[in-house]
Assembly symmetry: C2
Homo-oligomer: 233 residues x 2
DNA sequence: ATTTGTGAAACCGTTCACAGCA
DNA sequence: TGCTGTGAACGGTTTCACAAAT
């Protein structure tokens, strides 16, 4: 039973997307043996304002010390709790092309409660091979149940794969194929589209060359903030 | 000399991130020979409201016809103009691991004005190989000038690569390494972090299982809208 | 003295409701 | 009639300014 689970009331969408970034910074401080961190330091490194950082963190309960900043260990743990890192969940990845391999071999993808359940591919040359400690299964084999499914197939196969994932009781899908997939109500789909990321970046480049701050993932652009890169790894 | 460039005044950040999605839908209509499209159809397929679609598009000037919807050709072209697709720009990709290969081999990444200039890697076993029609260069070779640089290296190398890119006059960086990089003012950095995407998805799964709509890349979750997946490819 | 935490104001984007046109 | 385009209302997030705490 451990700690009684304090239900976090209302974390806004923008806050949720920033918390993982904060946590990465906090952990890099921790690894370097620094025990305290200030909102202004997180702000500097992420490009958001210190006020926003404090407002975000205040949603997790009062965890800073006025005058001194936040305790790095406490902050790391509290953010982790808020994001549900104490819960584990299973992941299946479909499509073992370069992208699928990049994901499962990355030391940065399946972290914080995620555990890889199975890999699938349609290519007979790939099925049976061992990747990241898992034998790649045939997409036509019965699909293992999992919490999250990751689609790394060509777009033409994405819908079919999504259907299979839903049938295997998957509740959330991370879709790297540039296609909209149709799923029942209650299944979350999150899209990642490299081409669109690039287009957004280029738009900014061509138009507004004068924008400030914001090195956050997904909308980040550095400017005056001059974050100290070496501070984060 | 061509069309006089109408400077687009103010396109909001959310609008900019939706336009590429709209365009993808418009083009799928076009490929199927459909000549008109309504805001409600785009809305259905993206999960945003029809009003938002119209509001977004109205920023590009009046291009619809009241009573009938939008002309597919005109809309495609206008969105392309707004996003700067009539301008070409060059891209260098650094790091030819699985991710780098996935990107340059994808038919969906380098589109709309992007042209690949050069590939780089640090691994002698990879340098000299031909990938996507380009011989992979050594990261220590002089770097070709380009508009955009893409970092697909391990995080430990990201800062060094960013420095080299900046020295090669790159003005925008798409960083797939989970690290903050330090660049001079005027250089845009956009971060893509798979782990964070996954964490955000799982947060939603664990907490609010009751949220509506929004199948857009980056914050998308399907629900009642029931977009017809087959309509887009 | 310094930094957190937070009401209140300002700002921005979305939605509503409807006018404008084909 | 049907759908676009948009002023106005709304809701939510960020920023300001300052009180609270050590």
């Amino acid at each position: 039973m451990a700690t009684p689970r304090l239900r976090i009331r209302k974390l806004s969408e923008p806050t949720i997307s920033r918390l993982p970034v904060y946590q990465r910074i906090v952990e890099s401080f921790r690894r370097r043996g620094i025990t305290r961190i200030e909102s202004s330091q997180i702000a500097q490194l992420t490009g958001v304002t210190a006020t926003t950082v404090r407002r975000d963190l205040s949603g997790l309960g009062p965890l800073g010390t006025r005058g001194a900043g936040y305790d790095v260990d406490v902050l790391d743990q509290k953010i982790g709790e808020a994001l549900g890192h104490d819960r584990t969940y299973s992941v299946v990845v479909v499509g073992m092309g370069n992208l699928g391999q990049a994901l499962v071999n990355s030391s940065n993808f399946l972290i914080r409660g995620a555990s890889l359940s199975a890999l699938y591919d349609a290519d007979p040359a790939v099925v049976g091979r061992e990747i990241a400690g898992h034998v790649v299964r045939d997409i036509n084999d019965p699909m293992i149940e999992a919490t999250v499914g990751v689609i790394c197939t060509p777009p033409s196969a994405a819908q079919e794969v999504a259907d299979k994932l839903v049938a295997a009781n998957v509740h959330a899908i991370l879709n790297f194929a540039p296609t909209v997939v149709n799923v029942p109500i209650g299944v979350a789909v999150h899209y990642v589209d490299f081409s669109i990321e690039l287009q957004i970046l280029v738009f900014h480049l061509l138009n507004t060359m004068n924008f400030a701050g914001g090195i956050l993932h997904s909308v980040g652009v550095t400017a005056q903030g001059q974050p100290d890169a070496r501070a984060v790894d």
